[in-house]
Amino acid sequence: MTTQAPVETTMETKPLLMKVRGMSMSYGAGPAENKILENLDLDVEYGQFISIVGPSGVGKTTLLRCLSGLLKPKAGTIEVSGTKINGPHPDLAVVFQDYSRSLMPWMTTRENVAFPLQGKGIGKAERNKLADEHLAAVGLEGQGGKFPWEMSGGMQQRVAIARALAYNAKVLLMDEPFASVDAQTRFDLEDLVLDLQHKLGVTILLVTHDIDEALYLADKVVVIAEKPATVVDEIVTGFGETRDQLATKADPRFTEARARILVRLRQD
């Protein structure tokens, strides 16, 4: 165990929270080996919002599963706060794509949010208090007694976000978290996540196939493509903290970056 973050040799101004080097992933072996990811590098700074964008089927979900420790990469290393990780880690929380499957219908929303805290050994009163606080933070104040199936899709995904935040991880990994909700709800959730990120200073890594969403949310967009997939481009957006669904998306830098990503993805 290291006692402090290692000194970076590169020119980054902020220390790295997460560092991925040479990560490869494949299924099967020998001639039937199906290579999904190859030699992937990724730097995540403290407090950064990173979008990973790529076409459907490129291996984004595999990438996120490797990062979350659910899958063991065939090669390469993943470090969090300077420590190599080897499986699920308390500094990493995941918001799954399908809220209706990842929330447990036999638990109230409060129980759903508090449950991972129980796993951490936090006492009942304390974890219920934390659950209520985080439900309030995602705009679900006083709804802890409801069951997930009594709520709309957008509200359920808010519960899933509250659960991830309450877990108090350093990095939130989000796997196409807004893919199953309608457009207006999607915009609301995007703005909610941006707001929470600024308030709580949490670092977010979001995977999406939606270029607009990737650009709108991120400080840095990482484009993955090709087969096996690897990082083909990185764009620092520079939109700052305040974003607006209309103004930001009309920003010339936004349209320029979108065109650049589209062209890059079309080459495949």
Partner: protein, 277 residues
């Protein structure tokens, strides 16, 4: 726009007004729909058998007379008590071993592969056929009867528990892994509730099996219970008593299954309300 807003409240209020009387009428109709046939069958039985001259088909009146008499003098009550205690202990054992075994086999695929053929063999054997063997080996006390019921009822519970475990949403398992839920907690709060709908369905299937085996087990080397009452009255040509015993077993089975449905609705409220089935 204004028009629509003005009209808007009128629509739901009319709908809710129309809904109130129709829902109570619907409830009345529902009771009528599900009860008229029972009344008709009982009436047909009563009048059809009233003047029966066939010794083996007594009149319903004489059957009920025998039933009321033997309920009153305690003959049936003690028999029913004996039978039901066997049934409940047997079912409880079946549920315990079926659920524990199912959890283990559902979570360990290799083990399931090994024992799968054996499970399906035992499930395919008509459980009543095992009664003479088990009682022959273990004797005629209450214990072997409970054991036989437990053995017979365990299979559907075991198989359904396995199905329930295998049917658990993979995302929920991923959630447990990522959030590092400790094993015991994961079992108690994720796996067990997730499999509960199937477990409960297995117990529902096991109930009539248990009642059948309960009666059959008391027809072998037994001097107590409802099965014995039926067999004994038949052997001594007390035909109305024989019918009364069979009728009573049917009624008991019916009441147990109704009670079970009520319990099930409570336990699985989330399941039915969420439309997860």
């Amino acid at each position: 726009m204004t028009n629509a807003t003005l009209n808007a409240p009128a629509v739901p209020s009319r709908a809710s007004k129309a809904k109130a009387p129709s829902s109570s009428a619907a409830a009345g109709r529902k009771i009528l729909v599900s009860s008229w046939l029972i009344v008709a069958v009982v009436a047909a039985w009563w009048f059809g058998s009233a003047n029966s001259t066939n010794f083996f088909i007594p009149s319903l009146e004489s059957i009920l007379e025998a039933l009321v008499r033997d309920l009153g003098n305690g003959v049936i009550i003690s028999g029913a008590w004996y039978s039901l205690s066997n049934l409940f202990v047997g079912l409880a054992l079946a549920a315990f071993f079926g659920i524990c075994g199912g959890l283990l086999l559902g979570e360990v695929p290799l083990l399931l592969k090994i024992v799968d053929p054996i499970i399906h063999f035992f499930r395919a054997v008509p459980q009543a056929a095992l009664v003479p063997m088990i009682i022959g080996v273990f004797g005629m006390g209450q214990g072997p009867k409970m054991g036989t019921i437990a053995f017979a009822c365990m299979w559907p519970i075991l198989l359904n528990t396995i199905d329930g475990i295998l049917g658990i949403e993979p995302t929920v398992r991923k959630f447990s892994k990522v959030y590092r839920i400790p094993r015991g907690l994961h079992f108690r709060r994720v796996i067990l509730p997730g499999a509960t709908p199937q477990i409960v369905a297995g117990i529902r299937v096991a109930l009539p099996i248990g009642i059948t085996v309960m009666v059959v087990s008391e027809m072998f080397a037994s001097i107590e219970g409802l099965g014995f009452y039926i067999l004994n009255s038949s052997a001594t040509f007390k035909v109305p008593e024989t019918w009364a015993g069979a009728l009573l077993v049917g009624v008991i089975g019916y009441i147990i299954s109704i009670l079970f449905v009520l319990v099930e609705k409570r336990i699985l409220r989330w399941y039915h309300a969420s439309g997860a089935q």
